[in-house]
């Protein structure tokens, strides 16, 4: 489904701030793979997701998604293939627009936007139903400005927006990191539910090793811009936190998460 071939990206080349963020990264996702991504600060996790999303062009390598070579496509031209939820809950929604308008924008992801109505009545009914499933009472606030919603609510809405038009690939960039633990758990559960329901190919970055182990069918660990560990299937199911930390240390990686601090 997604093939990353030897991707490299250096920020600020030739300056004192030069940073090789991705270093010959290769990754191959099968359809329906739900991959959790862990690694220390600066390991290149978010950079990898941004490369796939097309936030900037990569220096080297190829990105193939669903059979299309998207390496040279700008962000807005790949958007029809990719659903995204960002770390910052403010980033995924338009605060001054109504909830239903936000959903309608997302429902037209990657489609030409002409002079038809921005939100139709039949859409409103559909959104009402889909918001109900979130269980946050948002179905009664469809004409509220999204800026009035809480961070957790906005993140749930962004998640719904990402899958309203089924994407070939779902990118979750530490999308629960900015939420309080209770809300984070709820949004994560919701993510699991949505991914399973649509059998979505998913890349999810997390800082929480427990989450990384519990969710998805495959786990990758990154360090210095490439993948140093790739575990899937039964092996991943049996994985423990301690094993992960040991493996990480063995590979010479550094990991920063609450768990490593506590186990030291």
């Amino acid at each position: 489904m997604l093939k990353l071939e030897n991707i490299s990206k250096t920020f600020n080349p030739g300056t004192i701030n030069e940073k090789k963020a991705l270093n010959g990264l290769s990754l191959h996702l099968k359809p329906g793979d739900f991959v959790t991504v862990i690694g220390g600060n600066g390991a290149g996790k978010s950079t990898m997701l941004n490369a796939v999303a097309g936030v900037w062009p990569v220096d080297e390598g190829r990105i193939i998604l669903d059979g299309h070579d998207i390496t040279a496509l700008p962000e807005y031209k790949r958007a029809h293939l990719i659903g995204r939820v960002f770390q910052d809950p403010m980033m995924g929604t338009a605060p001054n627009m109504q909830l239903e308008e936000n959903l309608a924008l997302a429902a037209r992801r990657g489609r030409p936007r002409g002079l038809k109505w921005g939100v139709t009545n039949s859409e409103r009914e559909e959104y009402h139903e889909r918001l109900k499933i979130l269980g946050l009472g948002l179905e009664d606030r469809m004409t509220s400005k999204v800026g009035l919603l809480s961070g957790g609510q906005r993140q749930a809405v962004t998640l719904l927006m990402a899958v309203l038009r089924e994407p070939k690939l779902l990118l979750l960039d530490e999308h629960t990191a900015a939420l309080d633990p209770g809300t984070a758990a709820k949004v994560l559960e919701l993510s699991d539910q949505i991914v399973q329901e649509h059998n979505l190919t998913t890349l999810m970055i997390t800082h929480n090793m427990k989450d990384a182990i519990r969710h998805g069918n495959r786990l990758i660990m990154m360090n210095e811009g490439h993948i140093i560990l790739d575990i899937e299937g039964e092996e991943k199911k049996k994985l423990t936190k301690q094993q992960l930390i040991d493996m990480f240390a063995q590979k010479g990686g550094s990991i920063d998460s609450d768990e490593t601090l506590l186990t030291k």
Binding site: A53, E75, Y76, K77, A79, H80, I82, R84, F86, M91, G92, T93, A94, P95, N96, M97, E101, A104, L105, A106, R108, R109, G110, R111, R113, G114, L115, K116, W117, G118, V119, M161
Partner: protein, 314 residues
């Protein structure tokens, strides 16, 4: 002059006589404010092109009417000229990476020469309502108010429709959250160019209305248009919120933008009536706009700020 003689010299009837003229001019500037609303409120850009494109609209209108074109056709071409001006600003911004505010300044600056060329290198051109058939004129103020109001209402309705469409929503989304818009497949560069073009088209149209109303185009007629437009937008928001509060929808916001233009001009009429020096008008306008722009910030400071903590601690 003592204070009593100053007040004695003020003639209330004269003020009332001048009010309708203020309203008719206010509507024309209110229409311009609709254009500025697109960039300032929807795209979140302060577009300084308008000082030039307003004059462009006026110059094109006058020259075409003088050449025998019907006024409505002249207005249409004026609008296209404005669209082109906005397009240039949009290209400078999106394709050449020049910050929006500088791109606008550059276009505005260049339009001074362009406008002079349009007017045959004359600094002003008269178009007499006696010789030509104009849509509106200060000679007949009630009719000018009616014509202006009809055009303004038509534009408000078109705006209301357009910004509810998929394309209009994409423009609003671009101004509201560009990162999200890109992620949803919106070409935000195109949306910015489109918004800037439409905005300047409306501004040029209002310039074309003003020259007919006043009977001449002047190379400096657009100077400060952006400030007057911002004043109208902001006054409209404040008045609209005061009257309708939470019931103020998009249609209301747009209508009150035009009303904001009218209020602005009525204030000008009053200021002139009070015999304040008309040369101070621009200073006065700038102060009013600065005050209104500052209100949201000052309100938030009132709720929570370090200065407040200092006072409390002291």
């Amino acid at each position: 002059m003592t204070i009593t003689s100053y007040f004695a010299s003020l003639n209330v009837l004269k003020l009332l006589r001048n009010m309708p003229g203020g309203v008719s001019q206010g509507i024309i500037w209110g229409i311009m404010a609709l254009g500025i609303y697109i960039t300032f409120r929807l795209l979140d850009v302060a577009d300084l092109t308008v000082d030039g494109s307003f004059t462009t609209g006026g110059a094109v209108t006058v020259m075409l009417i003088l050449a025998g074109w019907p006024a409505w056709a002249a207005l249409l071409v004026a609008m296209l000229a404005g669209i082109l001006a906005g397009f240039v600003t949009g290209m400078l911004h999106t394709k050449l990476g020049i910050p929006a505010i500088l791109a606008g300044i550059l276009t505005q600056f260049s339009l001074y020469s362009v406008n002079l060329h349009i007017m045959g290198m004359a600094a002003n051109k008269a178009v007499s309502v006696d010789k030509y058939h104009l849509l509106l004129s200060s000679r007949n103020i009630p009719s000018a108010i009616l014509t202006g109001a009809v055009i303004a209402l038509a534009l408000v309705s078109v705006f209301y429709w357009y910004f509810g469409t998929e394309q209009g929503s994409a423009i609003r989304a671009t101004g509201n959250n560009p990162a999200m818009s890109r992620a949803l497949g919106i070409n935000i560069d195109n949306m910015k160019v489109l918004g800037l073009s439409l905005s300047n088209g409306i501004v040029a149209l209002s310039g074309g209305l003003l020259v007919q109303y006043q009977g001449f185009a002047d190379i400096n007629m657009g100077r400060g248009a952006i400030v007057i437009g911002l004043a109208a937008v902001i006054i409209g928001e404040v008045v609209g919120n005061a009257i309708l509060g939470k019931r103020l929808n998009f249609y209301g916001t747009l209508t009150f933008t035009v009303i904001g233009g009218i209020v602005y001009y009525l204030v000008i009429v009053i200021v002139l009536w009070l015999k304040l020096n008309s040369n101070d008008l621009k200073l006065f306008t700038a102060i009013v706009v600065a005050l209104f722009l500052a209100v949201p910030y000052l309100r938030s400071q009132q709720k929570s700020s370090f200065a407040k903590l200092r006072k409390k601690g002291g």
